[in-house]
């Protein structure tokens, strides 16, 4: 990007950039999370949204419980096979481009629940972008994951149209 303040080309100046860089800049700074909280990690995720950790500093405070208005799914909590189909359905309803954070040991690999009912990692049925370990992870770790998503959007981008 370049800034030009030539008065002949506009009073307050103008910016030159590419459409792709401009779109990705907007996307990474206005992530709208779909909070898919199913267990104790959800409490920590709520803490990330609330005032002490304040995810709005990263432009991602608008938690949308409608998947159609969200582009970042934060799966926080144990996912059973019965819940997995619901989780996948919610993900499928989110418009492209979209990203997924697997928050906590349970979503990453089943956590302590090596049982008949629990999915051993949500990457069995979802394309995960960032994994956060911990039981539950600290809110700082969730912020770090959101920043990694931002970096990913910056570096890889997504199709404009």
């Amino acid at each position: 990007m370049g800034v030009n303040s030539n008065s002949l080309l506009g009073g307050d100046g103008f910016i030159t950039t590419t459409i792709e860089a401009f779109a990705n800049w907007g996307r990474k700074n206005s992530l709208w999370p779909m909070p898919f909280g199913t267990a104790c990690c959800a409490i920590e995720m709520i803490g990330v949204f609330a005032s002490r950790f304040d995810l709005s500093r990263f432009g991602a405070e608008v938690a949308r419980f409608s998947p159609r208005q969200a582009d970042l799914m934060i799966v926080s909590g144990t996912i059973t096979y019965k819940m997995a189909s619901v989780c996948r359905m919610i993900y499928d309803q989110m418009p492209e481009p979209k990203w997924v954070i697997a928050m906590g040991s349970c979503t990453c690999g089943g956590g302590p629940f090596d049982s008949y009912a629990v999915v051993q990692g949500i990457d069995e049925f979802l394309p995960v972008d960032v994994y956060i370990g911990g039981c539950p992870p600290r809110p700082e770790a969730v912020i770090d994951a959101v920043m990694k998503i931002q970096k990913k959007i910056d570096l890889e981008g997504a199709p404009i149209l």
Binding site: Y81, K82, A84, S85, D114, S115, Y116, A117, Q120
Partner: protein, 173 residues
């Protein structure tokens, strides 16, 4: 004043001869072993004549390779007496055979037994005859094994995966 369990047993046995097989006292808790075929009659009698109006819990135990018959259905019934020392908790146990396990439902006595019996059916496969709506309650409806049976491998996720894949194809849970 302590509750007189012996007169309760006598009354139940005179109404349903041989229904109470054994009385076990342990650390102030009373357990009665009830003949499985008379469970519904005994429970109805306990509620109507002795005021056991509340079914606190209904569950089962699998004694595979430990003893016969294989299953035991356990009822915790409670009576709210007018005096504080008349609050009585009583445990009933009924032994159920391993092949084609079946026992009478108590939903017509305590409607709260509905979901508890569904859970026992879901986890152990014990059929409650006379239950108004005996479907699985926790596991998916098309799930085949009974996961709390001792001969079920607790790490076996194959049936769960099949149900999950079917739900993905067809929608719903």
């Amino acid at each position: 004043m302590s509750f007189d369990f012996d007169s309760l047993i006598e009354a139940v046995n005179s109404a349903y001869p041989g229904a109470v097989k054994e009385k076990i006292e342990y650390r102030g808790e009373t357990t009665l072993i009830i003949d499985k075929d008379r469970i519904s009659g005994v429970c109805g009698h306990l509620k109507a004549s002795f005021g056991f109006t509340f079914l606190a819990d209904l569950t089962a135990v699998d004694y595979l390779e430990i003893r016969m018959p294989r299953y035991e259905v356990v009822y915790h019934v409670h009576r709210f007496g007018p005096e504080i020392d008349e609050n009585i908790r009583l445990r009933l146990k009924a032994e159920v055979e391993g092949d084609n396990p079946k026992i009478d439902s108590v939903t017509h006595i305590w409607s709260g037994a509905d979901w508890l019996e569904r859970e026992v059916y879901d986890m152990f496969g014990i059929v409650f005859t006379g239950h108004p709506d005996l479907r699985r309650i926790l596991m998916p409806e098309d799930y085949e094994p009974f996961p709390l049976r001792k001969d079920f491998d607790v790490r076996n996720r194959e049936a769960s995966k099949r149900s999950f894949e079917r739900a993905l194809r067809e929608g719903g849970d």
